[in-house]
């Protein structure tokens, strides 16, 4: 991280490719004779790519599998099926040395700035730890300089090195989490609900910081979030997940202005906009029912029990993602 901007490549090249990713967690019963009695299909056949320098938003409601997808990419879970290629290499086949390198190149920012920072460590040690563990900078004084640099890059006063997390506000703590993620000069960062716990007035500051860092260091983000307004602002492309599957994927403005999948349409219509005049004029029908259990997901299209457009065929065949408009993919057999 020398502060120089990295020029964007002329042709987009995929940095991350996710192919037919599936993560089924077993449900077992019994203590002595532990038997598997079923499985939770948290992620069930997900495909997407992220190009270098791009931010892909992964959105959906609780239990749709967005966080599990992120954890598989970070190799915190071993997927049941499918491949995750980082810079062309399958992360699940990496041996020790390559995996160590991956751990430097791929970082994560978590939601909760209260539980993701060790309360017994000073801020300087929290940020300096990855630098030390990976042997990037063995000289303590130079390491300290590096930590101070990272703090100021993230908009914090370098004097914060000697503070503890509890002495800081939520926004400041999240900046510490970001500084830690940047410590090893990563190329790719999984942001899992990275701004969701922050108050409105602080959230905008951190969103701007994430955008500045992306430009300055040529970062690529997978931005996992449930807040669609934040995703529209921050992401170039967006994938909508429902019950372990991607139902729609498109460029950000295209997806939010012309949602094609009935689930995306329902989701967008449920979000109130901060303007009473617009709200008063909006026709508003919240989607009926609740998300079914991923243990026994509906047959065919998983959205069919709640879908206003569903026909008999939707109960049988699982719809595949089709490119209905340029760069706009939809998994629905009834939309054309």
């Amino acid at each position: 991280m020398n502060g120089e901007a990295i020029p964007a490549p002329l042709l987009p090249t995929p940095l991350l490719e996710v192919r037919q990713l599936a993560m089924h967690f077993p449900i077992s019963e019994g203590i002595v004779l532990n038997r598997k009695i079923g499985e939770v299909k948290a992620v069930d056949g997900v495909d997407f790519t992220i190009n270098r320098g791009e931010t892909l938003g992964l959105v959906g409601e609780s239990g749709c599998g967005k966080t599990t997808t992120g954890r598989c990419i970070l190799r915190l879970e071993r997927p049941t099926a499918g491949q995750i290629l980082f810079d062309g290499r399958d992360v699940n086949r990496m041996e020790r040395q390559e995996l160590t390198a991956l751990r430097r190149r791929v970082q994560v920012i978590f939601q909760d700035p209260y539980s993701s920072l060790n309360p017994r460590m000073k801020v300087g040690d929290i940020i300096g730890e990855p630098i030390k563990v990976h042997g990037v900078e063995r000289d303590p004084r130079r390491r300290r300089d590096r930590v101070r640099e990272l703090l100021s890059v993230c908009g914090l006063d370098p004097k914060f090195t000697d503070r503890y997390p509890h002495e800081m506000s939520g926004g400041q703590r999240q900046r510490v989490g970001i500084a830690r993620a940047l410590a090893l000069d990563p190329e790719f960062i999984v942001c899992d609900e990275a701004v969701s716990a922050l108050d409105v007035s602080i959230q905008a500051q951190v969103i701007n910081l994430l955008e500045d860092l992306r430009e300055r260091f040529g970062l690529t983000y997978l931005f996992i979030a449930h807040d669609l307004s934040v995703v529209r602002h921050l992401c170039q492309r967006v994938a909508v997940m429902y019950l372990g599957r991607i139902v729609e994927m498109a460029d950000s403005d295209e997806l939010f202005d012309n949602p094609l999948h009935p689930y995306t349409q329902a989701l967008l219509s449920a979000v109130p906009v901060p303007d009473p005049r617009i709200e008063a004029a909006r026709a508003f029908r919240p989607p009926r029912g609740e998300v079914p259990s991923p243990i026994n997901p509906p047959s065919g299209c998983v959205f069919h029990p709640r879908c206003p457009m569903a026909v008999d065929g939707c109960k049988q065949a699982r719809p595949v993602l089709r490119e209905l408009r340029p760069r706009h993919w939809v998994a629905c057999s009834e939309v054309n």
Binding site: V200, Q203, S229, L268, A270, P272
Partner: protein, 332 residues
């Protein structure tokens, strides 16, 4: 007709290790019968404490209501005895909290939570209470209510539990429902269902509502009038349209400018509220928003601006609110 609720110069303090916190520092507002009023603010602004103060549910110690009046339906709630207050809670004022898992009793069936309220306040017998409970569950959109009555809170989804909370709140035909972040823990499609349900039922039974939230979209959709809180005070108050389209307090203006919008194409950058949230143990005699305010002048450091009318029912607590009138319509 007098307002249903009139809060006058309410003060609530907490003694903490770090010092005295004036969580609610002299707020005044009214709620008319059948009206929906929002209290909007960020963490620590005092919005929840102000609601708990109305219900006299502030844990003492460390908290205490130190001053003010809470006039509800002709009575000053601060002067009531605890047994009298218990009669008001759940009967005249219903409550819906953020976390239905913690506000429902985990060892009582859904049916019992509703019938308990009915037996306590209306003295009906068990069979009548059971019939009424089934009716209430149907009303809040719970399918197969007779079966649900026998289930426990953990057997229901978050959205279902919040529907049960609404059924309990409505059980005794209250005049007012206080909903503290009623949908914050829920997914957006369930949030929409619950808020629509509350709106429909409030209209049908002419119940007034106080909705406490940090979500500016929820306020825009459901509230007729809005109180914006910052550091324990109401800094701006008025009809929703005026608050969103002609805000007169720099905090309201900054807040509206800083939210990313779902209905607008991507912009280059957001315009955040500068600085950090206030430390309530270290407030001085000036305006608490001053360190983050783009319009601050010397006077703002010396005295606290009072909440004063700027136009009709629109009030703002800012020395420069008349000058801010000329500023742009931030929401449009």
């Amino acid at each position: 007709m007098p307002p249903l609720l009139e809060v006058r110069a309410l003060h609530t303090e907490f003694r903490t290790g770090a010092g005295l916190v004036r969580a609610v520092d002299g707020i005044s507002y009214t709620v008319e019968p059948g009206e929906t009023v929002a209290i909007v603010g960020e963490s620590g602004s005092g919005k929840s404490v102000s609601a708990l103060s109305i219900l006299r549910l502030i844990p003492d110690p460390p908290g205490r209501i130190t001053n003010g009046e809470i006039l509800f339906d002709g009575k000053d709630l601060r002067r009531l005895t605890e047994p009298e207050m218990r009669e008001i809670r759940g009967r005249d004022i219903g409550m819906v909290f953020q976390e239905p898992m913690t506000s429902l009793n985990p060892v009582l069936t859904i049916g019992r939570q509703i019938t308990e309220t009915l037996e306590q306040h209306q003295g009906v017998d068990r069979a009548a209470a059971d019939r009424r409970a089934i009716e209430l569950l149907e009303l809040v959109g719970i399918a197969d209510p007779a079966r649900r009555l026998k289930q426990y809170p953990h057997q229901l989804s978050g959205g279902m539990r919040q529907r049960v909370m609404i059924a309990v709140a409505l059980a005794c035909n209250p005049k007012l429902i206080i909903a503290d972040e009623p949908t914050t823990a829920l997914d957006v499609t369930i949030q929409a269902q619950i808020l629509e349900l509350m709106k429909t039922l409030a209209r049908r039974f002419n119940v007034a509502q106080i909705i406490i939230t940090h979500n500016l979209g929820v306020v825009a959709r459901y509230a007729a009038r809005v109180n914006v809180m910052y550091a324990g005070r109401i800094v701006e108050s008025g009809p929703a349209d005026a608050i969103y389209h002609a805000p007169r307090h720099p905090y309201t203006m900054a807040l509206l400018r800083s939210v990313p919008r779902l209905d607008r194409p991507r912009q280059a950058r957001l315009d955040p509220v500068d600085g950090q949230p206030p430390d309530l143990t270290r407030l001085d005699g000036g305006c608490a928003f001053r360190p983050r305010c783009r319009f601050a002048v010397e006077r703002c450091g010396q005295e606290q601006p009072a909440l004063e009318p700027v136009e009709g029912g629109h009030l703002a607590a800012c020395f420069r609110s008349t000058e801010l009138l000329a500023s742009q319509d931030v929401a449009a």
